[in-house]
Amino acid sequence: MNINLTLIGQMVAFVCFVAFCMKYVWPPILAAMQERENKIAEGLAAADRANHDLELAKEKAVERLREAKEEAAAIVDAANKRGNQLVEEAKQAAQVEAQRVKASAQAEIEQEANRAREQLRGQVAALSLAGAEKILGSSIDPKAHADLVDELAAQL
């Protein structure tokens, strides 16, 4: 347990090892550690960002879906409305047509009735002339009594 040159030797060795450590060991290891720390921090930040983005995307997707559903509902509604409208229009057109057909049929019927009436009137005139001829026993000059007969026929 003597103090001797070993003391100096150890001091020299100490200085050498510290110098070596300071120059070749500490800086690269610490730099690598720092870099990894940064990398991890970046990675975590990126993961956070990605998570946030995912959340946003999900929200957006939900929004889109809702919009699409609304749109679809609107389209179906419009289509229904349009269909109803078409049906309504068709109904109306049919009614109008029916009215028209009915009116024309009535007009024709009236026409026919009038014509029949005219015919009947003529025949009645002729019959009444023939009847009057028989009653009077003489012929009646149709020409002379035409006014009379016509008046009669018009009164029928």
Binding site: T6, Q10, M22
Partner: protein
């Protein structure tokens, strides 16, 4: 284990003697009866008496070699990692080394508030190196000395930190750094600190100077001697336990258990002492950087 021809005390002394190479003074009578000639002689010491006679001009070959060897192991291991270090996924060795580096870095950051590129690598070197030197304590006390004895080397202390030269050498290194930074950072402030503290009056300058110098010198001494004392005591107990084995076969089991128990406890001491040496170094250097 103690040999048949050795007494317990011889065994212990043998274990506590360094392998010393040094200069014997002229006229010294050596163990084998020969007299050292004119001008002295550089020889391997045979026994404690010879190494004591060598005085300061001697070197503990075992302490030096083990200490430098362990320092080289530290450098080699950490340099290897430093070369491989990149920001990717770390391997197991890299991870371990980075854990130690991170731990030291945190300790330095917590304690040392100045700007100094030296302190952190210094702390790392001290921590790992002292730890490795202390770790040698866990190698069975007889293993390496016995093997080397078979190879013809008669003394061997394999735990460098049980040699006060080693611990004081490091402490003195730290002390020189303390002085250097005190003067560099504080300049005249350092002189003021030594002379006008704690009694701020010119009359008290001698008293202050005495107290401050004693306080200053106490730092490296306590630093070096604390490590030495702890490790020396630990080593001593290992040797005593090992000596128990020679007390007869009945002692084998309790001695074995003691050995294991002490070794397990010593793991704590080893790490703690390395840590304390490192932290105190940081604290002292931090004090050298701070004006009061």
């Amino acid at each position: 284990m103690a040999g048949e021809t050795q007494t317990i005390s011889e065994y212990i002394v043998h274990h506590l003697t360094n392998l010393t190479y040094g200069k014997l003074p002229a006229g010294f009578e050596r163990e084998d009866g020969s007299i050292v000639g004119q001008g002295g002689a550089w020889v391997m010491a045979h026994g404690g008496e010879e190494s004591a006679a060598m005085g300061f001009t001697a070197i503990h070959v075992d302490s030096m070699l083990w200490s430098i060897g362990l320092g080289i192991i530290f450098c080699w291991m950490f340099r290897g990692v430093a070369k491989k270090a990149q920001a990717g996924v770390p391997s197991r060795t890299v991870n371990m080394v980075e854990m130690i580096v991170g731990f030291v870095d945190n300790t330095v950051r917590d304690t040392f508030h100045g700007r100094n590129k030296l302190v952190a690598p210094l702390a790392l070197t001290i921590f790992v190196w002292v730890f490795l030197m202390n770790l040698m304590d866990l190698i069975p006390v007889d293993l390496v000395p016995k093997l080397l004895e078979l190879a013809g080397v008669h003394y061997q202390k394999i735990v460098p930190s049980t040699d006060p030269n080693i611990t004081m050498g490091m402490a003195l290194g730290v002390f020189i750094l303390m002085l250097y930074y005190s003067i560099k950072v504080k300049g005249m402030g350092f002189v003021k600190e030594l002379t006008l503290n704690p009694f701020n009056h010119p009359v008290f300058i001698p008293v202050n100077l005495f107290m401050e110098v004693v306080g200053l010198l106490a730092k490296p001494f306590s630093l070096g001697l604390r490590l030495f004392g702890n490790m020396y005591a630990g080593e001593m107990i290992f040797i005593l336990i090992a000596a128990l084995f020679s007390a007869g076969i009945a002692w084998a089991l309790p001695a074995g258990l003691l050995q294991i128990g002490w070794a397990i406890f010593h793991i704590l001491v080893i790490t703690l002492q390395a840590f304390i040496f490192m932290v105190l170094t940081i604290v002292y250097l931090s004090m050298a950087h701070e004006d009061h």
